[in-house]
């Protein structure tokens, strides 16, 4: 989230799209309803009418996988009707920047496409700069090559009728949503978006969010109270897991993963440290060397020296262009290229798409270590349906783990608030926290390497691994302090001297010379200099009255509760919205939230800085050349769609996605054998694959068995009555489940034809309870987003047959 949960209450218009917030983030609705009490409008856009829709002022449906068409229509509406926030668009976005004249867009493809590689050469997706490297701008926004005009031209094709024919949303509903939401494009109104996996889990997932980001920038809704682009994250600590880099493309704190071709630290830093000639740009990522060196110091301690590149060569590198994500991993495993697997708190046998492929892949392993509080379909795959356990060679180790209330540590919520929690009870039996388990395994690995050596033992032997308390147990406070970082020598910065061994109280103090350590620069400042844990704070003061609660827990970065908050004020530092002044420049100081940097407002030509400090040019990107499939989001059909032709262009699918072509990666597009759109989701009552909740009798009582929700109209076609058993089939598998015939799904009119959609939860698996049914992910395809490889769980094709 750019904002945070409590801030939802400050909104005037809440768009919930790609999310079923009421069911999957019940606490968020506490704040949605507070906003509603103040007169806010709540809009829910979703293929299905859910418990969220029931609470909304307005619900309309769209076919799964058509969000860019829906939102592209909103961009056109905003531009055509002058609903954008002029001052903000001019000053805080790259609307006025001039784009390279060789940049083109033609019938679904941007310039530079290589169909063989399914990749773009992005050399024309650039902003023109003058001789000093500063972007060339047209403040009148009239130049046909400026971003604003190109944006306008791009979305001119997204008229109401075209959008309606793609999404299936009635034209009058589109107009109603566009009108309601774009009414926030004024100084004293705020609109927010709550989204979740309903946007990310598409082959165009990242671009779904980009499209909304463009809308929020046009309306001036980013950096303000009640606004923002807000991802509701699933697990209580899923934000923490990405912050700490549980993904292949990043190191902790969103530093980039190094590739094999960056053989030295210098090459790595040169590649990933952005430069800017814009005089008023803070270009915060210019600090990349400080954060990278401090990270290496946290990992390798005294062994990391300037002479040995701070042990940069010890970090594993991906091959250039290598896909090291989840789908690629299972593909390799299926093709016998991976021998061992460690699974912690997951159930990929039910949670990963094309689960039949995954379950077969497990059989190619020599060993699997599974860390969990309960058994699930993953470690028990060898006794699953249709498996002859005598033929399975995989050795499985099940390690009992402590549940969340049985361990101490930090939890980072969607709003970046890092809250410290304490252990409520000891774990049962031999169970240990996941931290303890990982700690012990690595300690043992080090011991073995020390004894037996190996091909390249240095990275393991030199790794700093000193996180145990006096009893030899893994110490979460020691880890959190290492993540925050220490002064490794006495350091004088400005007037102040910091002593060796003290915590670094802000990332602004981190050094590139090896004198500081920090396991994650974004978390630097979670401890004070004297080692007080700010994440454990529980003070309920709210000096601004805006719900920022600055002394409740701690939030990254530097306890800033709403990021890009300098965009909430004009060039003089005056709040755009005097009713909700998040920041104000008063008597030469900032008052309110922690500002995005200490500099004075923009009118100070010498010291003032632009608000989007993480962007090299200091402004936000309406034109976003960092994306894999284009600087402007474009509608493409999901990999499996009911249509053989994209109604928007000649390009059916996202041209930059990876296509898996193995024998088990079957796809059926516009295939009469699989005529219905299907989407998957979760319910309030179960957690993900149900691996932890299906063992809870009060929850299985409430949601006992797998079901498919289908419209009355489709039920009639299939000859199915409510509550009868059906078989849902895709080219990859089939699932038997109960038909829930409902008025909450309705047929769509798409390109003149009637298209039916159904939906299933992925909460079930064969292990327990025995009659609950198997995973919906037996049906989903092996395909991911072009930027992130997040699987397309949300849109694929099935058939439904009565059993």
């Amino acid at each position: 989230m750019t904002n945070h949960y409590i801030d939802i209450r400050n909104s005037d218009c809440i768009l919930i799209m790609g999310s079923n917030a009421a069911e999957n983030h019940p606490i968020s609705f506490k704040w949605v309803l507070r906003a509603k009490d103040q007169g806010a409008k709540v809009i829910h856009v979703d293929p299905r009418f859910t418990r969220t829709s029931a609470m909304a002022d307005f619900h309309t449906s769209l076919r799964s996988g058509t969000d860019i068409a829906f939102l592209g229509g909103m961009i056109k509406y905003i531009l055509d009707n002058n609903k954008y926030f002029d001052d903000y668009v001019h000053n805080y976005t790259n609307a006025s920047f001039i784009v390279d004249e060789k940049f083109t867009f033609n019938d679904g493809l941007f310039s530079g496409y290589d169909p063989g590689k399914r990749k773009y050469d992005k050399s024309t997706w650039t902003i023109k700069v003058d001789s000093t490297g500063i972007p060339i701008k047209d403040p009148t926004l009239q130049n046909p090559r400026c971003v604003f005009q190109l944006l306008k031209a791009h979305y001119s094709r997204y008229d109401l009728e075209k959008v309606s024919s793609i999404t299936g949303t009635p034209v009058e509903d589109l107009k109603a949503v566009y009108e309601m939401f774009s009414s926030t494009g004024v100084k004293d109104k705020a609109g927010t978006i709550l989204y979740a996996l309903g946007w990310t889990q598409h082959t165009v997932g990242a671009q779904n969010i980009r499209t909304m980001a463009i809308i929020q920038l046009l309306l001036g809704n980013i950096g303000i109270c009640g606004g923002g682009v807000n991802a509701l994250r699933g697990e209580p600590n899923v934000q923490g897991s990405t912050d700490q880099a549980i993904l292949t493309h990043i190191l902790p704190g969103y530093l980039k993963s190094p590739s094999a071709s960056q053989t030295t630290l210098d090459e790595y830093l040169k590649k990933f440290t952005p430069k800017s000639s814009e005089p008023q740009s803070a270009n915060w990522w210019q600090n990349t060397p400080k954060y990278t060196v401090s990270l290496l110091k946290a990992w390798y301690g005294d062994k990391a020296t300037k002479e040995n590149d701070f042990c940069y060569s010890f970090i594993p590198k991906v091959d250039d262009g290598q896909d090291a994500t989840l789908l690629a991993m299972f593909d390799k495993m299926y093709n016998k290229q991976i021998k061992g697997l460690v699974v912690i708190g997951q159930n990929p046998a039910c949670s990963t798409p094309n689960a039949n492929k995954v379950r077969k892949a497990f059989a190619e392993l020599d060993w699997m270590v599974h860390v969990n509080i309960f058994d699930n379909e993953t470690p028990s795959f060898w006794k699953g349906p249709g498996v002859d356990s005598k033929k399975i060679k995989t050795e499985v180790f099940l390690l009992p783990a402590a549940a969340s209330m049985e361990k101490e540590g930090s939890m980072s919520n969607s709003g970046r608030w890092v809250q410290w929690k304490y252990k409520a009870a000891n774990p049962p039996g031999d169970a240990l926290s996941a931290g303890d388990i990982v700690y012990r395994i690595m300690a043992k690995v080090k011991e073995i390497y020390k004894k037996e050596r190996g091909t390249f033992p240095d990275p393991i032997l030199n790794l700093q691994w000193n996180y145990a308390d006096k009893k030899g147990m893994w110490d979460p406070v020691a880890v959190a302090k290492a993540v925050n970082g220490y002064f490794l020598e006495d350091v004088t910065i400005g007037e102040k001297t910091y002593k060796k061994g003290e915590c670094v109280p802000s990332f602004a103090l981190l050094q590139a010379d090896g004198k500081t350590s920090s396991g994650n620069w974004l978390y630097c400042g979670s401890f004070t200099q004297d080692g007080t844990n700010l994440m454990a704070r529980r003070k309920k003061d709210d000096p601004t009255g805006l719900g920022l609660y600055p002394q409740w827990s701690w939030c990254w970065p530097v306890n800033r509760r709403i990021i890009y908050n300098r965009a909430s004020v004009d060039a003089d530092g005056k709040p755009y919205n005097p009713k909700r002044p998040l920041l104000a420049w008063v008597d030469g100081k900032w008052a309110g939230d922690v500002p995005d940097g200490p500099w004075p407002p923009l009118t100070d030509q010498e010291k003032g800085k632009l608000p989007f400090i993480m962007k090299p040019d200091g402004v936000s990107s309406l034109f976003g050349p960092g994306m894999a499939e284009g600087p402007f989001p474009e509608h493409y059909e999901p990999l499996e769609s009911p249509l053989s032709k994209n109604l928007m262009s000649a390009q059916l699918n996202n041209p930059a996605i990876r296509i898996f072509t193995g024998d088990i990666d079957k796809v059926a597009n516009a295939d009469p054998a699989f005529p219905y759109v299907c989407t998957t989701y979760t319910s309030t009552e179960h957690w993900c694959t149900g691996g932890s909740t299906r063992w809870q009798s009060w929850l299985t009582e409430a949601q006992p068995q797998a079901y498919v929700e289908i419209s009355r109209e489709l039920a009639e076609i299939c000859g199915v009555k409510n509550g009868e058993m059906v078989k849902v089939e895709s080219p990859r598998g089939q699932v038997e489940c109960v038909a829930m015939v409902t008025t909450r799904f309705r047929p769509f009119k798409i390109g003149g034809q009637t298209i039916h959609q159904v939906g299933m939860t992925f909460n079930y698996g064969w292990l327990f309870p025995k009659d609950c049914g198997d995973s919906a992910n037996l049906l989903t395809p092996t395909v991911g987003d072009a930027n992130t490889m997040t699987p397309e769980y949300k849109a694929f094709m099935v058939n439904v047959k009565k059993i």
């Binding site: 009421a22 609705f29 506490k30 809870q696």
Partner: protein, 217 residues
């Protein structure tokens, strides 16, 4: 004496998360029963001696062609003058009682001596259920054990949105009036159900029968 306690059930704030249904079972140590998916989110299908709080789901199409999905977190209303109490007491003295301080209506083990069908049909809201093993009648206790010790009922404590509110009856009645008035601007049919007769007062925004057959007396 004060006017006792009340619970407000504001269905316009209920997201049907069923935290209340589960919290009731947790506090009262009631088991999760074996259920089947029969084509609805509602489960168990009905109240029972082991389910005293049940979120009911009702769906359909509104006049404007849009779907509706109404949630009704059903439980004993703890009537000010409870007909079930009269019926049980008529057969067995001490089979039911009304707590003087709070107004909570309770069934005791002696309730097994009262004819169940008659007790059930005496209830305008179809709440009492019989434990088939012991014959004892069962239902919500208003968490008398909790509220007598200054704690809110388990269901109220679990509610994330403020759809359930517990407090002094007089204060709850004021809240009810205020909330109904506010809701009427958007929902002309908004009303409180039988507020002058029951302690558990439901606010609905549409015809109560669209929520549940026995929503109103």
């Amino acid at each position: 004496m004060s006017n006792g306690k009340s619970i407000l059930v504001d269905t316009s704030r209920c997201t049907a998360c069923r935290g209340c249904q589960v919290a009731c079972k947790q506090w009262n140590e009631l088991p999760g029963t074996k259920t089947k998916q029969v084509g609805t989110y509602q489960n168990p299908q009905d109240l029972s001696s082991e389910t005293w709080k049940l979120v009911r789901f009702a769906e359909g199409i509104k006049d404007n062609g849009k779907p509706f999905w109404y949630f009704f977190s059903d439980q004993c209303r703890h009537c000010l003058v409870p007909p079930c109490l009269d019926t049980i007491q008529g057969y067995t003295d001490g089979g039911a009682l009304q707590d003087q301080a709070t107004g909570a209506v309770l069934f005791t083990p002696k309730s097994k001596e009262a004819p169940f069908d008659e007790v059930r049909s005496s209830c305008p809201y179809n709440i009492p259920r019989k434990d088939e093993k012991t014959g004892v009648l069962k239902k919500c206790t208003l968490c008398l054990d909790r509220i007598s010790n200054g704690r809110p009922p388990a269901c109220v404590l679990s509610c994330p949105t403020g759809a359930l509110v517990f407090g002094e009856r007089d204060e709850i009645l004021q809240m009810v009036d205020k909330r109904v008035e506010a809701l009427k601007i958007t929902y002309p049919k908004a009303k409180a159900i039988d507020a002058d007769q029951v302690r558990v007062i439901y606010i609905v925004t549409d015809d109560p029968r669209k929520y549940h057959e026995h929503a109103a007396a």
